[in-house]
Amino acid sequence: MANPDFQTIGRHVRRREDRRLLTGHGRYIDDIDIPGALHACFVRSPHPHARILSIDAKAALDMPGIVAVFTGRDLAEWTTRLRMAPPIDGLQPVEMDTLPIDKVCFQGDPVACIIATDRYQAEDAIDKVRVEYEALDAVSSMWRALEPDAPKVVDKLPSNLLSHQHATHGDVEARKREAFRVVESTFSQHRQTHLPIETRGCVAVWDEGRQHLTFHVGTQVPHPYRTTLAARMRLSELQVTVDSPDVGGGFGQKIALYREELTVAAVARHMKRPVRWREDRMENLLASSQSREDFCRTRAAVDADGRLLGLELDIVEDFGAYSFYPGNYLARVVAMILTGPYKVQDYAYDVKVVLTNKVGNGPMRAPMAITSWVMDGTMDAIARELGLDPVDVRRINMLRPEDLPYTMATGEVLADVTPRETFEAALEKIGYLEFRARQQRARAEGRYLGLGMCTVVESTTYGSRFYKAAGIAGSGHEAAWVRIEPSGVVNVSVGLGATGQGYETSLTQAAAEGLGVDPQQVHLHIGNTDVAPYGMGSRGARGGTAGGGTLYLCAQEARTKVLAIAAKLLDVADGASLRMVDGRVQRLEGGEWGGTRLTLADIARTAYLDPLALPEGMSPGLEFHKTWDPPPMTYSNSTHMCEVEVDAATGAIRFERYLVAEDCGTVLSPVVVEGQQHGAIAMGLSGALFEQVHYDENGQNLSGTLADYLVATAHELPRFEILSMHTPSRATPAGIKGMAEGGVMGAIGALTSAVNDALAPFGIVADRQPLTPMYLRDLIRNKQRKQQ
């Protein structure tokens, strides 16, 4: 996979963080020992929707070890409310208290915070805090939420419709009139949660003398987190340091400042004592953010060959009760990039986001996960209705190399992507025609094989211009610094927040490439806001392009100065005839690169300790800082193919084969990318098969343990075959595109497509997940009953 253009980018280097993490020497929140720290725990509502009539903590305060009990009224004095009201057309403004004061809006909503000398005592005291509730009817589904007589989750809003956006590009109605057929398909995704191995947690240390808060918290976005935390506590940014140590997974759950963490920070300041909190697994399942629950309907106007003439999309998303993010944030992206690898210019969408009495949504690895399933599922539906081969329908609609760059109906521009190439490569590798023959033979034996395919165009790096165009507040830039120390050691930093992605491996490779040193000579410092530059952190798949790209550019600037110094020391005209390889300066003479006496350490020593030897006018030292705003969007692409056998008698799915052909441009670190491919596909398959946050009709969450919320283990998953392709982006440093979420998108689409292919003889279509044996048996049974 090594790229001849690069010395270190793409080189196979072992993950540098693994030695520490795998030998038990990682430093997570609970490894941070703060003597005398008090422990917080939260009293949570058993009701999904209820007025809080009174809270009586007297009995709890009499218990041993209980120091204090605080409620929403206390927190309202110490913190500001969260107002989520970006100027976005169609989005209702909402506000929330730091802890609920008047009413609770989901089962698990925190109503009081107990502070004790240890966690056991705090937990025991929960039972002694008497909370009197007046239960209200709860809204437990998005369909109920939209009914005119539904109870209102937010009293001040006119209805539960939090956001409603629609757009029309071209003339879809005309295309529908002209069409040979209008094919309608529906897709329902179920509520899931991020489930990091390390749940949320924090330690707040207030320094009364300096009036300064050090907040240890696992976060993906250290600087934006600090800005928000300071503002909500009415502190200035100089009074808050956020320190994010090793983090055991985030997947989008560790971006926003949530109410529990803010409460802990505010209590620490109020009590002038360190306070810590560790979310337990049940809290994580019941009260941390969730995602995915949405419904999509497409209407595809097609000609007799299955060519897409026009497309309509309706989305309804269940956003839960609270807006830690703007309500349109997730679903709108699905609408904007839906058509992905397929050509269509007449396109309209309608996106409704509704409030229900459930945990508030947060972006979860591939917030746009449903996109590729919807689009390839629509292709499958067209093939089914017109009696065409699903491969032919995809081919006739898929972008060809000569179509690029392609401006999608929504204005998004696809360039340097290769959907056609990944699709054809995957088809060939899987042996499509041979499979069809095998499928026929198996059916004759009463066995049901299916092949599913899903081509993904993954939006990876969101630049500021995308956010602006999508009506989403925020910047897409990233920041980096590089400091070459007098010894020649290279320290670097970016504003990302690591949660297990292997940044210490991939980003040091990017920096090493830019500078011309061995990656082992580079050390990444990340997560502490006193150290790291102000970047926007880790979201989506931006780490590689935004973080790696900015660091690469910064390292290149460092190299330019280093070579300019070298030119002076070697008495050559300028740095153009010099380069640095593995930390040694080389010189071009007679068309040949040859070694010189200089190393990076020699130059660094000069820069710091003998500045008068530097070129005229050059400032001493070797410290560099860079910010960079990526292009509006970068895209990676892939084609997933999945072969399954469905047991018609039990509804069980067995994987026969799983293949992905993926083109994610220049790869910084092959081992990191392969890990992301495996992880993303596993997460997608696990979600499509097992994981379900289950709310009953009264709004009670019935999935409070890992015996209820099922997650795939290695045992349930197939081996992943990977075909790697590398078409660099021409719009980014080193051609980096980023990746990490496409595997989720492709997995849920390919698996569902495979199951439907297997079940085709029964004349049924699975249009919702999870694909449980019960659900599939139910489809088969109902169809057979109807036929009898």
């Binding site: 009293v43 039972d127 049940m282 289950h694 209820d708």
Partner: protein
């Protein structure tokens, strides 16, 4: 989470004796394990405190029960609710009827119950079974009060709208409601028990305990 269950028990006492005992707080308190307090506030209202500490959960249920449709000595309807603090809450409506046959009496009940909070989040898979078992335990204790052993004659548990609420789960809703002597065919449930951690089975006993208590108060 809503559920329904019912039971039928033979008790070796006359109908009048059973009726009186069912209205005697002292008898009831003795038959409910962990009952700290049981007060008859009026002819049709009880209040009670039942404490338990099982597994990770320490719960004290404070409840009230209202009796209606009083038809001494043939039966009544009870409506109960209990707050288990951090463990959640439970609500139940049960119809209880007595049929005397000389020296023995057949007690029947049908109940619909709703639980919320941690009880629902942690125990939804097992709560019906365990609730039923606790009801049986109560009646066994109640029968011992008459110096004999009560036998469940026939009983049924059925998931009413359990797991039937959301769109995703209509596969459950589409299953025919289970009727008939379900407690006898508990093998499926037993295998479910074996697939979950032991502490959970223990914990859900606490939930069932809450139910046992309501069922107990009915009588």
């Amino acid at each position: 989470m809503a559920m329904e269950f019912s039971g039928e028990y033979g008790i070796p006492a006359t109908q009048r004796q059973v009726w009186d005992a069912l209205n005697d707080p002292a008898v009831l308190q003795a038959c409910i394990a962990g009952c700290k307090q049981l007060d008859k506030i009026s002819e049709t209202e009880f209040s009670a405190i039942v404490g338990t500490k099982v597994g990770p959960i320490s719960a004290t249920f404070r409840g009230s029960v209202l009796l209606s449709d009083m038809d001494a000595p043939n039966g009544y309807t009870l409506t109960g609710q209990g707050q288990g603090g951090a463990a959640g809450f439970a609500k139940m409506v049960a119809k209880v009827s007595l049929a005397g046959n000389g020296d023995s009496t057949v007690l029947k009940y049908t109940a619909s119950a709703d639980i919320g909070g941690k009880l629902a989040s942690v125990g939804s898979r097992l709560v019906q079974t365990v609730a039923k078992k606790n009801a049986d335990d109560f009646f066994a204790a109640f029968a011992r009060h008459f110096g004999a052993t009560a036998a469940p004659l026939e009983a049924a548990t059925a998931p009413a709208s359990t797991r039937a609420g959301s769109r995703q789960e209509s596969n459950f809703a589409a299953m025919p409601p289970v009727v008939g002597p379900m407690t006898r065919s508990a093998s499926g449930i037993a295998s479910l028990c074996s697939s979950v951690p032991a502490w959970m089975a223990v914990f859900t006993c606490a939930i069932g305990f809450g139910f046992g208590y309501f069922v107990a108060l009915a009588h």
